[in-house]
Symmetry: C2
Amino acid sequence: MPVFERHEYLARIDKVKTRMAAAGIDTLLAADPANMNYLTGYDGWSFYTPQVAVVSAALAEPVVIVRLMDANGAKVTTFLDHGNIVGYPDRYVQSTERHPMDFIAEEIERRGLGRGVIGLEMDAYYFTAAAVGALTRGLPNARFKDATALVNWVRVVKSPRELQYMSEAARIVEKVMATAFEAIRPGVRQCDAAALIYKAEIEGTPEFGGDYTAFVPMLPTGIGTSTPHLTWSDRPFVAGEATILELAACRHRYHCPMARTMFLGSPPPRLADTAAAVVEGLNAALEAARPGVTAEEVEAAWRRAIAKSGLTKESRIGYSVGLNYPPDWGEHTLSLRPGDRTVLQADMTLHCIPGIWMDDWGFEVSECFRVTPSGGEPFARVPQALYLKG
Amino acid sequence: MPVFERHEYLARIDKVKTRMAAAGIDTLLAADPANMNYLTGYDGWSFYTPQVAVVSAALAEPVVIVRLMDANGAKVTTFLDHGNIVGYPDRYVQSTERHPMDFIAEEIERRGLGRGVIGLEMDAYYFTAAAVGALTRGLPNARFKDATALVNWVRVVKSPRELQYMSEAARIVEKVMATAFEAIRPGVRQCDAAALIYKAEIEGTPEFGGDYTAFVPMLPTGIGTSTPHLTWSDRPFVAGEATILELAACRHRYHCPMARTMFLGSPPPRLADTAAAVVEGLNAALEAARPGVTAEEVEAAWRRAIAKSGLTKESRIGYSVGLNYPPDWGEHTLSLRPGDRTVLQADMTLHCIPGIWMDDWGFEVSECFRVTPSGGEPFARVPQALYLKG
């Protein structure tokens, strides 16, 4: 049932243990659901209750601790020996008297891992301040160290199988974007277009289905294009307005995101001009994205290309992407922006999305790409130009 | 654009201020996206970066602090004066050098709110230990107090408009469940059924569209029914197996969840017997759910009803439900379980879901209901029995 071979999980765990040793961490509690999946295969929508994968130099394979009703889910989806899957009783769930991390601390103590240095993902989604409080109280003999993104940094370079899943997601996203271009027209309710987009994401292709994406489909329209993260309403699309499509497809939790912009009618010159300049800048960034180049140098290539257009952009133009769960397909490691001196390596995968948001309009175009010696190679093939209709 | 009248938001804020005063809290930082929405109307998929709504006795209306690119989204969706919408620069986003809460702490200080007691939602999703660390370092003149679920407890009793949105979600979920019963048959890929379910959730009815739900559709099948939170694969449904449908619909972020179980073929007696007993127990719980009764008394009514069947259930049978964002439509307040002595009030809304999970099979049936003097009144009308097909 796990979607990678056992040896691939073991290789990942080895890399994490090497980083742990370098950071002086004896035992790591990975609470980020993407990190739990990466290290064990665990895949379930159970991250709304606290859970961890425990990695320790003293353990051959991780121990997964989840809510009791989810332990069977871990048996079905992970490569782990069932002795390494532990469920906590339901009385810990959303209780005002006890925290699931009380139980998890006891289990860690019981397994002899309550001493030495324990690494915690202090800035991971779903791993709250209360969780950290319960762990530190429950493990008085341990010292704690911030291990935010330690596993994430191992995830940045993709294996052949991971690249395959992202390519499969790309085949799906090509269909998704075609569905969106077809569905959106004046008078159609936004929710009806979003429904067809969702359907296309999940049904996938005849060869493989799609998984849920870490962001829901974003299709801000009209004045909504001035900001990137509004979701649909049941108002209709209107002739003479733009719609930004920030969509994706997902295969075994690996994403291929894609943004495009469409306009119903004849676009105002400022939008058409912006589109041309941003597409040129995007491709300049892709051209620059080779092994040995830094993240900030990729951003600088974009910046040089758009300089003559008069456009400026304060926010980052991209980030590492791949395996993830809601609410974010980004990996929280490198970003394409000034000051990020991360050196690109072959088979890193990024989402370059130089969105432009003005006071009452905006434009987005993006590519999810793989770093290769000949530049960033997009996973999906969809024309980059402003899509005009009607 | 906000989906409630201004006076409804102001009434909510007043209730929160009353609770704050009782708890000795001068300023509350609400980071839970559902609480931010409840207090201001803010609705965007931006909770993957830190953000807060600030409520203070010293302020007539809340201040919302979000990422700069999302500030326009707050202008579009909230009732707030634009002077109370603040965006932080992108250099704070997913940086290893600075945290968005550094900026937020400065903004709170700048507005003269950096003294006295500040309440923090220590166990809210998306509000990490690192966020708390940055706030406490950045506000050295404040004292901090745990305010987890303070706003959530105000949310438990619903207004007429909130009940209307949940009723609209119920109209959608009736269509969603019919779509699922129709789509699932032997040989159909799970992803294709999930795609049609998603489409039905979002397209809604001709009168109103649906919103994204806080859980994705769950449709564990075969051995997967032994655990509740696995999502679909691209394997086909198989004759002679059960599928659990834990679905929902959402309207303006208000949910009506619903679980049903279907079987392709003639069900084994143990499943049919369990279904009959659980349906009886569910209705005993609904019958008991009246104002003045405690949450644990509702669970006891279920427990008495199923005693003769020999079934037992360790986990809670329900929880408060309504406005929410991924990953959970539950409100994290009362639960229907032993020890919860919360007294039910009219117009509380709960999801009673007494799922039974055995080693290799399971059964679920649920109702989302409103507490009324004549018992729990389900929002949706879908037969509760095991759904048999083919």
